[in-house]
Amino acid sequence: MNERESEPPGLSQGLSSIVRRDILLAWKRPGDVLNPLFFFAMVSTLFPLATGPSAAQLAFSGPGVVWVAALLAMLLSLNSLFLSDFEDGSLDQLILSPQPLPLLSLGKAIAHWLVNGLPLVLVSPLIGVSFQMSGQTITVMLLTLFFGTISLSLLGSIGAALTVGLHRGTALLSLLILPLAMPVLIFGARTVSLAANDTAVSAGIYFLAAYCMLALTLAPFATAAALRISNE
């Protein structure tokens, strides 16, 4: 049709469309938002259970456990990031839409973080309390988790894009992502440990923030390229 009836949607509209759609999808299944949360909580309780209860132990391993639990919760939820889009043909539609694919990938990662990462950050103080962390430690943990989960959503989207269509479950994805996520984990957990010992923590937080920025600028392009390849 040659008459162009309306203005083409701009970039911001494209971004907000996909963010809104993915949040709507999560909203339709409220369980989806809660599941990573529960998982996070459960892993945090499994460790004390398996290693045995001792207050000193707990205080010592608390930051590590919380961070590993957060990492795993994010990894698990990442598996399905592009899977359903691939399977129902939406991915074809996204790739063939006039919007730039990196933008749409960014939108998917943002929605993923809002649905999975943010609630996890918000609930983490509770777990901190159960590991008997101090108020200041909890603040640091919140900050590190904030930047860390954003990075994980973005890094994870690359892995999810690479593995979509391989029907491999989370294992391959984890394998790809863990090496990239390692700096986040190590810095995150170490910084919280340092906070627990009242040592300076700003360096760790700066690192995490910088890593997060880096992921924010580069990951969408990597994800878009990976999607084009996986969807052949």
Partner: protein, 204 residues
């Protein structure tokens, strides 16, 4: 051979197997290209390759005088795509799905109700897509075409799962689109009403 959309010297491999080589086609505004061939002759692969989802071994596709490969974004603004799979989220209802697409590409939302009525899906607006029957899902997928103002429609087996009335509607939609100056590339096993604007491409 020239046209708004044309392909030159196209060769496509799947695995080790050459589906076709040195294929040429051209299509102008207001024309319909029907790709025919037996099962496995490469219709779907050709469509996907033209749309840029697969890579040709040799050759190039030209849209509006420019190589699609180099001006992919501009090409996508003029394209709307229908494949075997519906391309909509099973958990959302049809209104939510179609509105989402409207946020991605240029279109005319004023037509929304009339298109839904015409495809006889208006009464399904409350159900998530997963609850719809195969044919109903197909109708919703088809609704995306008249709602955009893209000039090039690419459709892979649009008649699948449709009842007689549904097939009739699809033919009408295609007819109107090319009468309006649009282009349409269809792969189908079912004969379309032929008109002087129809070109055929037989893969063997």
């Amino acid at each position: 051979m020239t046209g708004l959309l044309s392909g030159h010297d196209l060769t496509l491999f799947r695995g080790d197997h050459c589906l076709f080589n040195s294929l040429e086609f051209a299509l102008d505004a207001g024309e319909l290209l029907v790709i025919e061939g037996t099962n496995g002759s490469g219709k779907t692969s050709l469509l996907r390759a033209i749309a840029g989802l697969l890579e040709f071994e040799t050759g190039s596709v030209i849209w509006a005088g420019k190589q699609v490969r180099d001006h992919y974004q501009a090409f996508r603004e003029d394209l709307v795509w229908l494949s075997h799979r519906v391309g909509f989220k099973a958990d959302l209802n049809l209104v939510e799905n179609l509105k989402f697409e409207a946020g991605l590409r240029r279109g005319n939302q004023a037509l929304f109700e009339s298109v839904c009525d015409r495809l006889n899906i208006a009464h399904l607006a409350d159900l998530p897509m997963r609850s719809l029957s195969a044919g109903q899902q197909r109708r919703v997928a088809l609704a995306r075409m008249p709602l955009t103002s893209a000039r090039l429609w690419m459709m892979d087996e649009p008649f699948t799962n449709l009842d007689t009335a549904g097939r009739q509607i699809v033919e009408e939609l295609i007819g109107e689109h090319i009468a309006d100056g649009g282009l349409c590339v269809v792969a189908s096993h079912q004969a379309l009403n032929s008109s002087e604007n129809m070109r055929r491409l037989l893969l063997s």
